[in-house]
Subunit: 69 residues, 2 copies
Amino acid sequence: VELHCRCIQTESKPIGRHIEKVELIPANSHCEETEIIATLKRTGQEVCLDPEAPWVKKVIQKILSNARR
Amino acid sequence: VELHCRCIQTESKPIGRHIEKVELIPANSHCEETEIIATLKRTGQEVCLDPEAPWVKKVIQKILSNARR
């Protein structure tokens, strides 16, 4: 459990193709904003994404729609 | 970086309200399936979710749509 928000600023450039995984953290008692944190391929760097940015929503939709079993 | 798939089985019950955060992992060279791993409130337990289950998609949409600044 985080005791505060993890994101200070969000990435504005569409970096979808560099994303290894995405963490979605709904607003909670420690942070009143929804946070989306992407981990980048290769570097493993963590980058905060804007939950309201259209490209971010598209990246998430694409991950979901690529799922099949 | 994970060297294999992390999920063996997925949770079938709709446990949306118990979710603290959700991790989305697109298919990659180590695992050919999209994996969705939820961390539960209180216990911190990690639970794999079915990316194709309608309730899972709804939970993710809800997290995104609750975001505002």
